[in-house]
């Protein structure tokens, strides 16, 4: 690799000269990131925790110290908090499982050497590039009760009679949201699993075929052990992200109908911007954040992404 190393011997003095500047240069190079992350990540988090101890309005600078009052209200006297937490779980688990169930077979198929596979790979990754607002508009249009293709299609093949209100019915809104959300984000899991699959040597499959293993046995004994780790990682990471999803839910249903899709992030937004109780919203954010820290520590313990990038 280092041809230069063979051609010229690099004297220690050269290294010493260069590395004597390193402390200054390293600090200078890291300074922008440290400043930025402090200002846009750490300061807001600290600010949120601090202000969650006050009773403050969203656009009103006056504040009264209430200690843990906001937390007590949320945990003890607010049934919406608990039901929105439960709905966030429902949405997260439903989305993650659906995405995984579709993504793993998709990735296995896309890993095969078939004609036109490059086009199929591109198509499968396409949804991930479609902005969320566009996904929202597409699915609102397709799910439109009178004009939408889904409602009309179901009626044409005789499964339903009359219009179906997907995003407007308490029963169907959440499943419909999960489907719309998964349409976009399945591609992310496909990408990760496909990358892992491509690193499995062909010889493993050949060996399995020699032993007369069926397609299912090949999947179970060769593919599955190899993708196990990436699947676990995706389960946790995606689970956390889906748990915190706000945009697609707000765009498609606004948490409705009758709060059927008010997940915790949506509820936090409502507390802050329709009830104008910023202190309470920040207390709810802090609770959500604590949940996240627990999940994050588990994630770092289990996978240690930093050690991956050490050479």
């Amino acid at each position: 690799m280092s041809i230069a190393r063979f051609i010229d011997y690099i004297p220690q003095s050269v290294h010493d000269r260069v590395e004597s500047d390193d402390r200054i240069i390293g600090t200078l190079f890291l300074l922008p990131v440290v400043l930025l992350v402090s200002f846009v990540v750490f300061l807001p988090v600290v600010w949120a925790v601090y202000n969650s101890l006050f009773d403050i309005g969203t656009l009103n600078p006056e504040r009264n110290f209430v200690a843990l009052g906001n937390y007590v209200d949320l945990l003890g006297a607010d049934p919406m908090f608990w039901s929105s937490l439960w709905k966030a779980f429902y949405f997260a688990v439903g989305s993650t499982l659906l995405q995984l169930a579709v993504a793993v077979p998709t990735a296995v198929l896309l890993n095969k050497e078939l004609r036109g596979i490059a086009v199929a790979r591109a198509i499968a990754l396409l949804p991930y590039l479609i902005p969320t607002i566009v996904v929202g508009m597409m699915f609102t249009w397709m799910g439109h009760p009178e004009l939408g293709v889904v409602s009309n299609g179901l009626e044409d093949i005789g499964l339903t009679d009359g219009p179906m209100y997907f995003f407007g019915s308490e029963r169907w809104a959440m499943p419909a949201l999960i489907v719309a959300n998964s349409w976009k984000f399945t591609a992310f899991i496909v990408m990760m699993v496909l990358a892992r699959l491509q690193s499995i040597p062909e010889s493993h499959y050949e060996a399995a075929q020699m032993c007369g293993a069926s397609a299912w046995r090949q999947f179970r004994d060769v593919t599955l052990p190899n993708i196990r780790n990436v699947v676990l990682l995706v389960l946790l990471l995606r689970g956390i992200w889906m748990f915190n999803k706000f945009d697609i839910i707000w765009i498609l249903t606004r948490g409705g109908p009758a709060n059927a899709t008010t997940t915790l992030p949506v509820y936090i937004y409502e507390i802050a911007f329709t009830q104008y109780r910023m202190g309470t919203a920040l207390a709810a954010s802090t609770l959500l954040f604590l949940l996240l820290v627990v999940a994050g520590v588990l994630y770092l313990r289990a996978f240690d992404p930093a050690s991956e990038v050490e050479t």
Partner: protein, 292 residues
């Protein structure tokens, strides 16, 4: 068939044909699944593009036309002439370019320092940065709104650019960190031999060699900014400052029935990220291969 030939005790011809037949049946099944899968992923995009080109009377007909009977650009014309769509588009582009600039500068410098320079506490910095990738936008934007409001940064480009950078920078640092590890240090060493300083070898050698990584980071930052709804929705509440996602949602409220305009707007929003990735996919794939 070559395999079967070498296994003793079997009738090679029979087994070989059976094996071949089973194999072609499997291939056919694979294609059927592949095609239905592609339709599932592609249909919503097709359906939006089709609606954007359909005249009003077809869109509002209770019969569903799977192909447009007549193609029109009237929806696009109405959108570009009669609405604030172009203002939103300009806002989105300004903010996205700002986010790309901030992300490239910070993540490249940090990625290089983390790879090449010995510093105390380096690993800790990296870990916290990666960890901050897990903060969801909705959690960050609540306190940000209070802070930005206090210093007058709501409804400003700078405010939104900084806010969205919180979403792009952590992953980008990780990407650049990985990328600089693939750039051999020997080239820099030989530059040092000729008297170049660390700074000189960074700009002259390491940076040009990390170009695919830079492009991957730029595309990623652009896509995140272009996609962001949560932060823009809260930090840009003034109508003239709205970016596309927020603008279009308000637009649907006031034009709740004009599906032609809504879907042609959606189609135009989807175009830039698709174009970008189409033209730069070679670089992007190289970037992600290092990352995965």
């Amino acid at each position: 068939m070559s395999l079967v030939d070498y296994i003793p005790g079997l009738n090679p011809d029979d087994e070989a044909t059976k094996w071949n037949r089973r194999r072609s049946a499997k291939r056919a099944a694979n294609y059927v699944i592949l095609i239905s899968m592609s339709i599932m992923y592609f249909f919503p995009i097709f359906w939006m593009a089709k609606a954007a080109l359909q005249p009003r009377n077809e869109l509002y007909d209770q019969t569903v036309y799977y192909l447009p009977q007549e193609i029109t650009f009237e929806n696009f014309r109405a959108l570009l002439v009669d609405s604030q769509f172009l203002t939103f588009y300009a806002n989105s582009i300004i903010v996205a370019l700002g986010v790309v600039a901030v992300t490239i500068v910070t993540s490249t410098l940090a990625g290089y320092a983390l790879t090449r320079v010995e510093l105390p506490g380096k690993k800790r910095i990296a870990q916290t940065t990666i960890f901050s990738y897990m903060y969801p936008p909705i959690l960050l934007v609540m306190p940000m709104f209070l802070l930005w409001y206090a210093v007058g940064m709501t409804n400003t480009y700078v405010g939104l650019i900084l806010a969205q950078s919180a979403l792009t920078v952590p992953f980008s640092i990780w990407l650049m960190w990985q990328f600089f590890q693939t750039v051999p240090i020997s080239l820099e060493e030989s530059a040092w031999m000729y008297g170049a300083s660390r700074l000189r070898s960074f700009f002259g050698i390491a940076l040009p060699m990390a170009k695919p990584g830079l492009i991957a980071v730029a595309i990623f930052a652009f896509a995140v900014s272009w996609n962001d709804f949560t932060m823009a929705n809260i930090l840009m509440q003034e109508p003239s400052m709205r970016t596309l996602p927020v603008g279009v949602l308000f637009f649907t409220e006031s034009n709740a029935v004009d599906w032609g305009a809504i879907l042609s707007a959606s189609a135009l929003i989807a175009v830039p990220p698709l174009l970008l990735v189409y033209f730069l996919q070679r670089y992007l794939l190289r970037g992600f291969r290092v990352a995965s």
